[in-house]
Amino acid sequence: MAYLELNNIYKTYGEGENSTEVLSNINLTMDEGEFVAIVGFTGSGKTTLVNLINGLLQPTSGEVLFKGVPVTDTSHERGVIFQNYSLLPWLTVGQNIYMAVKEAFPKDSKKVLMERVKEYVAMVSLSPAINKRPKELSGGMRQRVAVARALAMNPEMIIMDEPLGALDALTRGNLQDEILNIWSKDKRTALLITNDVDEGIYMADRIIPLKPGPNATLGPEFKINIERPRDKTAMNDNPEYKKTRNAIIEYLMDIGDERKTVSDVEYKLPELTPKSFVA
């Protein structure tokens, strides 16, 4: 039995005339302990796919099976790093993470939980900012808090929606290693959404492109047969790395061109009516 299974997933937003089918016929299986990366263009439906897997959204048709059981709700077994950080602005860094660990480990004492918060804040090197509010942090720092919050909950499966997008190369590299560390040490399963092919090759076992939407579907998978632990600098000379990288980029460029030709057609804009409130 596969660990995670997506069978013939379709996802449509809206109803009637204004509906758009964002995802079409998505099929994916992941084994326990695997690290899969999905690369895709912006707006193709990556976040939608992530939300279907973590249980925030339900597919229009098809099913998501997690350890053989249909996903109908969110679960602490599946940790999520949101693309837009989603930190609560009225809480400090420490409080944001504390809220998460308190839910994940309800039986632990406050002291144990605080230790855990501090440990993960230190992991993303934000100890000096533990009492700051998200407003006072840079985008990259917020992203690191979001990473710490998800990992501190100790989920079995880590679902990451472009988690390192706003970071500089150096911090990015460090956090990549940190995530890989946790993944391999604790035998987690990981799904990474990214727009950086190199990041995918460095971290994942398989890379699967998501074709541009609407009606986005998964493309052919690319296996990364590079031994772990991988070394960033040495990897550049690895013929296997070069071959895989070129193949993926060529594929992405092809579907990118396809998208350009497709995008000549005129889109009909949905008719929006303003929401009415009690006012």
């Binding site: 973590n54 969110t74 609560l88 009225w90 839910e103 407003k135 009690v278 006012a279």
Partner: protein, 366 residues
């Protein structure tokens, strides 16, 4: 020669020091002081201008009425009466003064007399309390109500009554509007169920609210001789003013950022936690905006309601002075007007400070 060298060195050092100092004290600061000085200057100037215009206006009105009085005396009662009238007005005798918009100095005098009056009444009250202390002790011991001072209320007491009424009304509005706002904000079906109710009752005028509350409270207090003017007025004030808070709370709760709701779902917060740790904090800024509007509306409708309810507050004070038509009544009304305005302004500042305190994105607040 050597000395000169030292001097030179000192001089260069002092210029250096000045340069550093100039760098350390940013020019913005100097500009800031200049700017605030300028602003204060402009404010003072405008106040003076306002007082001047007021003075001239009241003078013109005064002259107009005085001329009319003399003219009338002349046509109705002849030369002699007109001369007497003119002399009477010029002498400042209160029996024949034109009764019009008072001048700033008259208002100021009125304020002073109101304060002096307060001291007199306070002394009176203290004396009364002392005199009655022994009797009252006996009455309380016997299980009867003590005798209380029922003399005239001073202006300060009146202002305090008004403030008390407004706060009681505000508290009532808060206790009703915030919980209901949260509940209807959480449920779209309740929201549509309540919608007609809110739309219909929101625009109802203070007078009608007063009448409605009066009908109900009068019956509830039936057989009870105690004064229920205060109760009626604060309930009416609360009902009039609560709508802004109700609507804003419902809106704040209903429009919580989707991302925060997603976080709550992924963390699997319980309903209670979700409401109190996510939904409420994120709608606090809107709730407080509503409360601020509520407080200012409460203060505004208070005057009319106190008048109707015969509650010993500023509203009744203004009305009684107007009815009374005594010589300094008009000046007292203007004093009350300024007091009402200034207290309203201070209440608004107070709410703004509280609002800024609870808001997590301070820089987005006005």
């Amino acid at each position: 020669m050597e000395q000169e060298m030292v001097l030179k060195k000192e001089k260069s050092m002092s210029t250096n020091f000045k340069q550093i100092l100039a760098k350390l004290t940013p020019s913005i600061k100097k500009d800031g002081i200049m700017k605030s000085l300028k602003n204060t200057g402009i404010t003072l100037l405008s106040i003076l201008l306002f007082l001047g215009l007021w003075h001239m206006g009241s003078k013109a009105l005064y002259n107009k009425e005085a001329d009319y009085k003399i003219e009338k005396a002349l046509t109705e009662r002849g030369e002699e009466a007109a001369a007497a009238e003119r002399a009477c007005i010029a002498s400042g005798d209160s029996s024949c003064q034109p009764n019009t918009l008072p001048s700033p100095s008259q208002v100021w005098a009125s304020l002073k007399s109101l304060v002096a009056d307060h001291h007199v009444i306070s002394a009176d009250k203290a004396a009364f309390a002392e005199k009655m202390a022994a009797t009252n002790e006996k009455m309380i011991a016997a299980g009867k109500d003590p005798i209380v001072y029922t003399g005239r209320a001073s202006f300060i007491d009146i202002v305090l009554t008004s403030i008390k009424t407004v706060f009681a009304g505000f508290l009532l509005a808060l206790l009703i509007a915030v919980p209901i706002g949260i509940i209807i904000g959480l449920s779209p079906s309740l929201r549509s169920a309540f919608n007609w109710f809110i739309q219909i009752f929101k625009p109802v005028s203070p007078v009608v609210w007063y009448l409605l509350v009066f009908m109900i409270v009068k019956t509830l207090y039936i057989g009870d001789s105690s004064d229920n003017a205060f109760v009626i007025s604060f309930i009416s004030v609360g009902f009039c003013a609560m709508w802004a808070t109700l609507v804003n709370t419902a809106m704040g709760v209903a429009s919580v950022d989707k991302d925060y709701i997603n976080v709550a779902k992924v963390l699997k917060l319980g309903t209670f936690q979700k409401v109190f740790k996510v939904i409420l904090p994120s709608s606090l800024p809107l709730i407080f905006t509503g409360l601020r509007i509520t407080l200012s509306v409460a203060w505004m409708v208070l005057i009319a309601i106190e008048l109707l309810a015969q509650s010993q507050g500023l509203g009744l004070f203004v009305w009684e002075e107007f009815q009374n038509g005594a010589n300094d009544s008009n000046a007292k009304i203007i004093v009350a007007m300024f007091v009402i305005g200034i207290i309203g302004f201070l209440l608004d500042r107070l709410m703004l400070a509280v609002q800024n305190m609870v808001s997590f994105n301070k820089n987005e607040m006005a």
